[in-house]
Amino acid sequence: MAVKKNLYTKRESGRAMDEVRPMTAKVGVVPSADGSAIFETGKTKAIAVVRGPRTLHPQHMQNPKNGVLRVNYGMMPFSVEDRIRPGPNRRSEEISKVTEWALSSVVDLSEFPNTVVDVFIQIPQADAGTRVAGINAAAMALAHAGIPMKEMVSAIGVGKIDKSLVVDLDKYEDSLFHDGEGSTDIPMVFTSRTKNLALLQLDGKISIPEFKETIELAKKACEKILVVQMEALKNVNGENGAPKGVPLEGNNG
């Protein structure tokens, strides 16, 4: 059988195969929170808010040895073309849980027994990659809140579109491309220092050598994302952010 031609040699967005979308990040976007951040990549936007440590109720859920990290991910009703009914659904509950696992791997709440740290992730506008954008924002919000962390985490969606390996899938690549071998979507989260995987999911079809290659692509992309995250955290008092509790528009405004 003749080898079929690769149908995806040029990306629909015009990006290079390993090129991430333009990113912006900012901390301190929700003044009443203990920590907050917004992370935007292309048209995907994620807001993350951290509240706590605060006493966990009901009491039987408390852990006397460790604080509890609790993540809630959700998409705003107007974030996608078909309105999403407000409230939790199976997709958002699963994403909340895998995000919680990813963040728990670097957060150290041993100093805060019986408390909970709540992380709320909300997506105002979606163009694929919302869970990874949410994790990038959440990691920044946790750091902004001063929650002890062993290291940072950065997240990226990589994948395979027909025969091409691509970095940072957008909506076209993630859900509208069905030709040839179709689309494989692999969200990954890497820890910043030890370079370990804190989240891994995969949907599609991919060979082992190709999968190995996507890991390397994701690692490189996460290095770029980490720079954006750290810049925003350093700029907490500058133009691109505000210290906790101070409104962005100045006093009284």
């Binding site: 976007v29 929700v30 003044p31 009443s32 929170a33 203990d34 907050s36 048209k43 807001i47 808010v49 509240r51 706590g52 440590p53 605060r54 006493t55 109720h57 006397p64 604080g67 809630n72 705003m76 009703p77 107007f78 974030s79 996608v80 073309e81 078909d82 309105r83 407000p86 805060f112 027994p113 019986n114 408390t115 709540d118 709320f120 909300q122 105002p124 506008q125 979606a126 809140a145 001063g146 906790k244 409104p247 528009e249 006093n251 009284n252 405004g253």
Partner: protein, 288 residues
């Protein structure tokens, strides 16, 4: 066992539930307001800075952010195909949903919408529906069969008081800026958005102002702390009747009672604040 309280969190804010103001702070707020001053430096009838941002999501008919000082609310509009109600076969339908999201405040909890969310959504829903601001007949595609259903979705981002007025205004601005979807009758589906707005009766625009009684004074655009110590609140929606304010909706909240003196003060404030705010708000909602 000793309870852990994060050093950054005030002890009285460390748990979810009611927003508790210590007596000392309550007295201070009332004392200040008696002298026509407020903790943030405003006068009792002074609004915070109003900031409107568009383009929060391009995947919906519109989505905007509205801030009064530190209070921020997002509102988005979606239009979907639906069947009309049996008693109004030639009219579109409308639904408002509000989520007091726990990210916005220490006091909001996850789970089923509480009475605050329900009241907020209902007051805003009634205000828009009953004012006739949306031209429901203009949303009819085929009488008795197909109409547009309009959704307004409100998400609170940060609560620093007066959510009702901010969310109400955000809803109006989102409706004012919503794009009409394109309906393909042959294939019976929606194909993107046109440049046109949705059908509105622009001359009946009204917006709400909430007045709180704190100590002996009536205060507008309250902060979260002020909201927690007030005796009652009165929300009044006011529209334009040939250059004169015309009341279109009211809702009293909390257990304090309104004296006739209070009412006189409030109605005077309605006149002066309406004259000051209405042109600004009209421009935000309907453009220049």
């Amino acid at each position: 066992m000793e309870r852990m309280v994060h050093p950054k969190v005030y002890p009285w804010r460390a748990t979810m539930g009611d927003f508790i103001i210590p007596n000392l702070q309550k007295e201070k707020i009332e004392e200040f307001i008696a002298e026509n001053k407020r903790l943030d430096g405003r006068k009792s009838d002074e609004y915070r800075k109003l900031v409107v941002k568009d383009g929060i999501s391009e995947n919906s008919a519109s989505a905007v952010s509205v801030k009064f000082g530190k209070t921020e609310v997002l509102a988005g509009v979606h239009l979907a195909l639906a069947a009309p109600y049996p008693d109004s076969q030639d009219q579109g339908t409308f639904m408002t949903n509000a989520e007091l999201h726990p990210m916005a405040s220490q006091q909001f909890d996850m789970g089923r919408p509480g009475i605050e969310s329900v009241e907020l959504a209902r007051v805003i829903d009634r205000g828009i529906r009953e004012s006739g601001f949306i031209d429901f007949k203009g949303l009819c595609i085929k009488e008795g069969e197909k109409v547009w259903q309009v959704f307004v979705d409100i998400v609170t981002i940060n609560d620093d008081g007066n959510l009702l007025d901010v969310a109400g205004l955000a809803s109006l601005i989102a409706l004012g800026r919503a794009r009409m979807p394109i309906y393909n009758a042959e294939e019976d589906k929606v194909e993107g958005y046109s440049d046109k707005g949705i059908p509105l009766n622009k001359d009946v625009l009204s917006f709400s102002m909430t007045f709180h009684k704190i100590g002996k004074k009536i205060v507008v655009d309250v902060s979260k702390e002020e909201e927690a110590v007030s005796e009652f609140r009165l929300t009044i929606a006011v529209g334009d009747n040939g250059g004169e304010p015309r009341i279109t909706a009211m809702q009293k909240g909390k257990s304090g009672v309104i004296t006739s003196e209070d009412m006189e003060t409030i109605l005077k404030l309605v006149e002066s604040k309406w004259a000051e705010m209405f042109p600004k708000i009209k421009e935000f909602v309907l453009g220049k």
